[in-house]
């Protein structure tokens, strides 16, 4: 019998398959398709202090090999999350990781503090790499001194595991090193990659907010590169994310050095994807007599 359990520092996950933030709602939406408690963890849609309405105009487009989104972090805000959403996820029996985002340092700290005492919240994932918002997002993640300050102060406030989500648009190695030194528990690699889409017919930029974030199979090789570099050069646990559409893709991430993986865009192409990837991964491990995904690492 293989052992699917993995540890993200003090957080034990029953298996290494998680949902990626922004592709899985709050976890109960997919209950119509399968019991989402089977997943190792649910990472919810990013939450900010105040509700955010998101971007106007076009928000999503499919391109060859991927999709580009410019949702703009639409979310109900922390108050509604605590009052209305948290009670609804009580029945989901797996680790729950809340993704947080802010326009400035204070917003991140405020959110972390609000979430720190809640037993249902097992960890936070901190988004410092959203490519399609004007304030915060990538501009925040590029300020190394700010990242140092943020990670140190988050660590003081939040006692459970803290995960920082980076993208290849950021100096991710440098950020990962800071995170390791400040006692951050893991890094999610990678967020979507900043992209530009043009509407040839209309002779305009496709998104009102100009940039979007590219996800899906097209970014998998880049994600693998970042996972490998951060895991090997920095030596901090890495949660791999980016274009995982099948169990084989997930295996590649474990081979590159990921401790766990997140399923994102695949949830859109088939709502059962995360569940099917988990099932197929189990069969693969069984068939190859591999006892733990950590054995898959090829370096």
């Amino acid at each position: 019998m293989n052992e699917l359990k993995v540890d993200i520092s003090t957080l034990r996950l029953k298996n290494p398959i998680m949902s990626a933030s922004g592709t899985f709602g709050f976890g109960y939406e997919f209950m119509e398709y399968y019991d989402t408690s089977v997943l190792g963890a649910i990472v919810c849609k990013g939450i900010s202090k105040e509700p955010r309405r998101g971007n106007y105009g076009n928000r999503i487009a499919e391109i060859d090999g991927g999709i580009i989104n410019s949702i703009g972090l639409e979310n109900p805000g922390i108050s509604e999350f605590l009052e209305k959403i948290l009670p609804m996820i009580k029945t989901i029996n797996t680790a729950y990781i809340v993704n947080i985002l802010g326009s400035d340092l204070d917003e991140y700290l405020y959110l972390a503090e609000k979430l720190s005492e809640l037993p249902r919240v097992d960890a936070i994932e901190v988004n410092i790499s959203c490519p399609n918002v004007k304030a915060g997002g990538l501009s925040f993640g590029k300020d190394i001194n700010l990242i140092k300050d943020l990670t140190r102060r988050l660590r003081d406030i939040f006692p459970k595991p803290i995960i920082i989500k980076v993208s290849p648009d950021l100096p991710y190695i440098e950020i990962a090193k800071i995170c390791r030194n400040e006692g951050i528990d893991a890094i999610t690699c990678i967020n979507t990659i900043q992209s530009l889409l043009i509407d040839v017919e209309k002779k305009t930029f496709f998104f009102n907010n100009l940039y979007g974030g590219l996800s899906g199979p097209a970014i998998k090789p880049i994600a693998l590169r970042v996972v490998y570099q951060v895991a090997k050069e920095v030596g901090i646990p890495v949660i791999g994310c980016g274009g995982i559409m099948s169990y084989k893709d997930a295996v590649e991430f474990f081979m590159a050095g990921a401790t766990a993986v997140q399923i994102g865009t695949a949830n859109f192409t088939n709502p059962l994807s995360a569940y099917e990837i988990l099932k197929d991964l189990m069969s693969y491990l069984e068939k190859n007599k591999i006892h733990s995904v950590s054995e898959l690492r090829i370096w």
Binding site: G22, G25, K45, G54, N69, N267, F268
Partner: protein, 272 residues
């Protein structure tokens, strides 16, 4: 209840003007679809499914069948159009809300523009069963796009057709035909069923291009007719999680087509 499934294609029909109808053998474990609802159908050559509204649902000897009607507009719909009898298609649904019907309203005005016929035909069959008086307005660019004219004529008390090429029905836009017909009704037929009690007896359902819907609603709302529209959007997930399918009301409010729609009260969308 199963929401995701693979269903067998039992019939494919290619109409003129790139319209295709796909009939699938339905699974009893799935929810029965209502007019206005849609499914995500997954082409083999794309990442995302394509949102396609239900065109018909019927039973033959207790066995359920679902029919989708769509126009080939890109590589996803092209791929779906190439399905053959016996193939399986992955899909999930039914998604979204449906056109509401009322006990106290028995006159329905349906206004379809182009491929807006897809959900409104299904709605007409249900309204016909409920013995509504149906006034059907159907406009297309080219006359060969017209579909189901005989069946629509049978179900409707009055069928109004407009084509931009003028080869069938009235030449011009359905919005103009609709406007003049409604004005004629109101001015000449005082005792017409439509406008008893300032239009409270009638309900209007509209589906078509954005600009056409807006113009139709301007007329129907000015006559105080309760109006429902079915909106289209780029839809990635159909599960309410990607938040990509927003539409904006004239008042600036955002709605998600797959969660709060696709059917909306026209006053929600067009009121400032």
């Amino acid at each position: 209840m199963t929401k995701y499934n693979q269903l067998k294609v039992v019939h494919v029909r290619h109409y003129k003007a790139n319209y295709v109808s796909l009939t699938l053998s339905y699974d009893n474990q799935m929810e029965i679809p209502m007019p206005g609802q849609f499914f995500m159908l997954k082409p083999h050559n794309t990442l995302l499914g394509r949102p396609i509204s239900v065109h018909n649902f019927f039973r033959i000897l207790k066995k359920g069948y679902i029919e989708f009607l769509f126009k080939i507009v890109g590589k996803g719909t092209k791929n779906l159009s190439e399905l053959k009898r016996g193939d399986y298609v992955s899909l999930w649904g039914p998604i979204g809300n449906s056109f509401p019907t009322f006990e106290n309203k028995k006159t329905a005005i349906l206004v379809a523009g182009g491929r807006g016929i897809a959900p409104l035909f299904f709605l007409a069959t249900k309204l016909f069963e409920k013995r509504y008086e149906i006034h059907f307005f159907y406009g297309v660019k080219k006359s060969e796009e017209l579909i189901h004219i005989l069946r629509l004529r049978n179900m409707s008390n009055k069928l109004f057709i407009s084509t931009e090429d003028g080869k069938r029905g009235k030449k011009g836009l359905i919005t103009d035909l609709f406007k003049s017909a409604i004005n004629t009704y109101t001015s000449s037929l005082k005792d017409n069923l439509l406008f008893h009690d300032q239009g409270n007896n009638a309900v209007c359902y509209v589906c078509g291009p954005d600009i056409m819907m807006e113009k139709v609603c301007e007329v129907s709302l000015s006559h105080k007719i309760k109006t429902y529209i079915s909106l289209e959007s780029h839809i990635a997930c159909g599960s309410g999680v990607c938040l990509g399918c927003t539409v904006e009301s004239t008042g600036g409010q955002l709605f998600h087509v797959c969660k709060e729609g696709p059917v909306f009260d026209a006053e929600e969308i067009y009121c400032k």
